[in-house]
């Protein structure tokens, strides 16, 4: 964890390569699309698990009540295994999201220069 001090936007905004508003709009849109797509992807996995389990319990009660080492299958999944599954999803998301951010920051460096040259 880098010990970053508080990023103060006011000083950072003083940079001399401020792109024009239209470029910013485009940039913001592109960033949100990429980050949003990742969030939605992970949330679909998560939602299909947490919203699918009630359906499994409802439609296939004999599968849900299957005994697994003393637990019923559905109890083992919801009461024990669900937690580590959310950790995995969370770790995956953070990795992927950091990668996207690094790419955006890199592309932005290039684009900012472009914008300046075009002016």
């Amino acid at each position: 964890m880098p010990e970053t001090t508080v990023t103060n936007g006011d000083s950072a905004r003083g940079r001399d390569t401020d792109p024009d508003p239209a470029t910013l709009e485009r940039l913001a849109g592109a960033m949100m699309r990429r980050q949003g797509a990742l969030s939605i992807r992970v949330s679909i996995v998560f939602l299909s698990l947490i919203l699918g389990l009630p359906l499994l319990n409802w439609l296939l009660p004999e599968v849900a009540s299957q005994s697994v080492g003393g637990f019923t299958l559905t109890w083992l999944f919801l009461g024990v295994l669900f937690y580590p599954i959310t950790w995995l999803l969370s770790a995956y998301f953070i990795r992927a999201s950091d990668r996207i951010e690094a790419e955006i920051a890199r592309d932005y460096g290039v684009k900012a220069v472009d914008a300046k040259e075009n002016r």
Partner: protein, 683 residues
């Protein structure tokens, strides 16, 4: 065991002293107003994650879930999972953007995102609604713990605990609490995990207990020795109710004079069924001795009068309202449900129902050894999904989904939790913190159903008079070694104290902060100096603390976990849509956000309050089971309603999208290196 200087009490005192001392110690380091409100924004990921978890694990987590699992079994597992999994949603959609935006309360975000000081005033209301709703179960936990430990009256525990915490918050603010909250996470994790290993050693492991329950699906828990049960009167409804087992007849010997308020059957009669044709509850008299009960039951079932004669039996009306002297033995007989002279069948077996009585005045009664325990469902219902929690209104799938939506979406909208994310140095740290919070919470929550499971095996009598919420305190005391029992019960009591102390402090800081920062500092006196705001904060803390204690007195009869679930449901239908759409949809306008938040939030709040009043029988209204389910769990309609309103109204008021929305979106989503994040509030 109940003396003031017993071991459990010493443990609790040690916990309180450690908390206050840590708070005072940390206060010395807290000088400026900004320190006071958000702990100087420089807390490391590990400590921050511990502190968030410590603040989050409330009485509902520590006591309520175990109690709810003891009572309802599988259905209650949704609570801990929802509490923990809510953070994943927070991580995916909200944690990073909100930290980057640099606002540190939801009202800050509301104002900054829409350039509207008016909207901030609207947004701040829900900090108070959600906060007060959330403090009620904490107070209930405090009252119940002191009742169980020391036999104090319910209000005394609330008064003592509430005052200690209010004092601590007024002195220390939040800087104090970062250290205290982190310490309290570890105290709670220790207290929930360590005693349960000892108990498993004695009573058998998690899977063993569950396997035993699954192996005897039609069985139900019984008492192993004569058990004295204290029942409250009508004013504590529904805890004055005894729903007898429908497996065999149950005897109940009154130790004190008792007056019945109501005699009915547990199963509500469907149209055409005649369940109340004969009384199912009888007092034994010389005229009707115990030896004739079996015969009597046969006669009632067969419907033939025989030589006993129905005229010897009292009518329901004769049972209600007049006192039975101490020593009276009541017998409750299950009978098949009849419909025009024929038994009603379900899957080829006759449907049986048993009496349910409600006491009018407080009393005590003895349940003899071997009796099936009233208010307890059978093993099959307990261990399977769609039992008595989600199925109580007859719409189990709807209830389950509504509960999941409330818990998952509500976590993101809790005012005292989001504020903690601003103590992260940047959005990236905010995400890492969320991950560690999920790990810490998961480790904690995995233990909570274990307490309910062991409780059902060892101490099911707690169900007979609705004391299930005290299982984490009461279960260790049932150990045959009294010293070990006292030590373990002391540990869990101290953990329970840590739970309501930490959550209550966090809520108190949020609510007092809203008063000092928003209502006083922005509306009443915008020119206030930091010192004046600090004083306003302290005064607000005292008032909010007192209000919470007052509200806590009103909720003695509600399950802790249910109460917290309601705070989540309100947050899910108000703040969650605001944060989600505010961070991800450019087109959201202040009119849209306000409409969705107010209508979604207020309708959910109204539905819940209406349900509480119905449940306490303060108001009586003919309400269909479906409506009841939707009132009790409003998230399934509240959240979509708020989201849809926000979208529709925003589209209609498109012209008020802020001009610099592109900038704002950059601030929310651009990585820190790009320099668009900003600290919204600078002290």
């Amino acid at each position: 065991m109940t003396g003031f200087f017993s071991l459990p009490v010493l443990f609790v005192l040690a916990m309180i002293i450690a908390t206050v001392a840590l708070g005072i110690h940390a206060t010395r380091a807290s000088r400026t107003a900004s320190d006071f409100f958000v702990a100087g924004r420089s807390v490391s990921v590990f400590w921050n994650a511990s502190a968030i978890s410590g603040e989050y694990l409330s009485a509902a987590s520590f006591m309520g879930i175990a109690g709810l699992v003891l009572k309802h079994g599988y259905d209650a597992l949704w609570y801990p999972v929802g509490y923990a999994a809510g953070y994943l949603f927070l991580l995916l959609f909200i944690a990073g953007p909100l930290r980057r935006f640099g606002a540190y309360t939801i009202p800050d975000f509301a104002e900054g995102r829409f350039d509207s000081p008016t909207f901030r005033k609207i947004a701040v209301m829900f900090v108070l609604f959600i906060g007060l709703f959330y403090t009620m179960p904490q107070m209930r936990g405090a009252g119940l713990t002191m009742q169980t430990l020391l036999g104090w009256p319910y209000w005394a525990g609330i008064a003592v605990v509430g005052s200690v915490i209010t004092f601590n918050v007024a002195l220390g603010g939040m800087k104090g609490i970062t250290v205290v909250q982190a310490f309290q996470y570890w105290a709670k994790a220790f207290a929930i995990a360590v005693p349960v290993f000892v108990l498993m050693n004695v009573y058998g492991g998690y899977n063993q207990r569950l396997a035993a329950i699954a192996a005897a699906p039609t069985d139900a828990p019984r008492v192993t020795k004569d058990t004295t049960l204290a029942y409250p009167g009508k004013d504590k409804a529904p805890n004055n109710a005894v729903a007898f087992s429908s497996k065999t007849g149950t005897f109940l010997k009154l130790e004190k004079t008792a007056v019945l308020d109501k005699v009915s059957t547990f199963r509500k009669a469907e149209p055409g069924e005649d369940v109340e044709a004969v009384p199912l509850l009888l007092p034994l008299t010389p005229d009707l001795p115990r030896s004739e009960i079996a015969q009597l039951r046969q006669i009632i079932i067969s419907g033939k009068e025989g030589n006993l004669g129905f005229e010897r039996l009292p009518t329901t009306a004769q049972l209600v309202g007049k006192p039975f002297p101490a020593g009276t033995e009541l017998v409750a007989l299950p009978i098949p449900v009849m419909k025009s002279g024929e038994p009603v069948l379900l899957n080829g077996k006759p449907v049986v129902t048993a009496p349910k009585i409600e006491f009018a005045t407080p009393t005590e009664a003895v349940l003899p050894a071997g009796s099936y325990i009233p208010n307890a469902q059978n093993n099959q219902k307990w261990i399977s999904p769609y039992g008595t929690l989600t199925g109580k209104h007859g719409y189990p799938l709807l209830y389950t989904y509504s509960l999941i939506i409330a818990l998952v979406c509500g976590t993101a909208g809790l005012p005292h939790i989001l504020v903690r994310f601003y103590t992260n140095p940047d959005g990236r740290a905010a995400k890492r913190t969320t991950f560690w919070v999920m790990v810490l919470l998961g480790c904690f929550y995995a233990f909570t159903p274990l307490w309910g499971t062991l409780g059902r095996a060892v101490l099911p009598s707690l169900l007979a008079n609705s004391k299930h919420d005290s299982v984490v305190i009461a279960l260790p005391k049932a150990l045959s070694n009294p010293i070990l029992g006292d030590v373990l019960s002391g540990i869990t009591s101290a953990g329970a104290f840590a739970a309501f102390m930490s959550t209550f402090s966090g809520l108190l800081v949020s609510m007092s902060g809203a008063f000092a920062h928003d209502i006083y500092g922005r509306m009443l006196k915008p020119t206030a100096a930091p010192q004046e705001r600090l004083r306003a904060f302290k005064i607000a803390a005292v008032f909010v603390g007192a209000a919470s204690m007052g509200l806590g007195l009103l909720v003695e009869t509600f399950d802790i976990a249910l109460l917290v679930g309601w705070a989540f449901a309100i947050a899910a239908a108000s703040y969650f849509p605001l944060l989600l759409l505010g961070a991800w949809w450019k087109g959201l306008t202040k009119q849209g956000a306000a409409a969705g938040m107010l209508i979604g939030g207020f309708l959910s709040l109204g539905a819940i309050i209406f349900f509480m009043l119905l449940d306490k029988k303060v108001i009586t209204a003919e309400v269909s089971p479906l409506t009841r389910a939707l009132l009790e769990q409003p998230a399934v309609w509240g959240v979509p309603l708020a989201l849809i309103l926000m979208v529709v109204v925003s589209l209609a008021t498109r012209q008020s999208v802020p001009k610099d929305i592109g900038q704002k979106m950059l601030r929310l989503h651009a990585p820190e290196e790009m320099g668009y994040s900003k600290n919204y509030i600078e002290h």
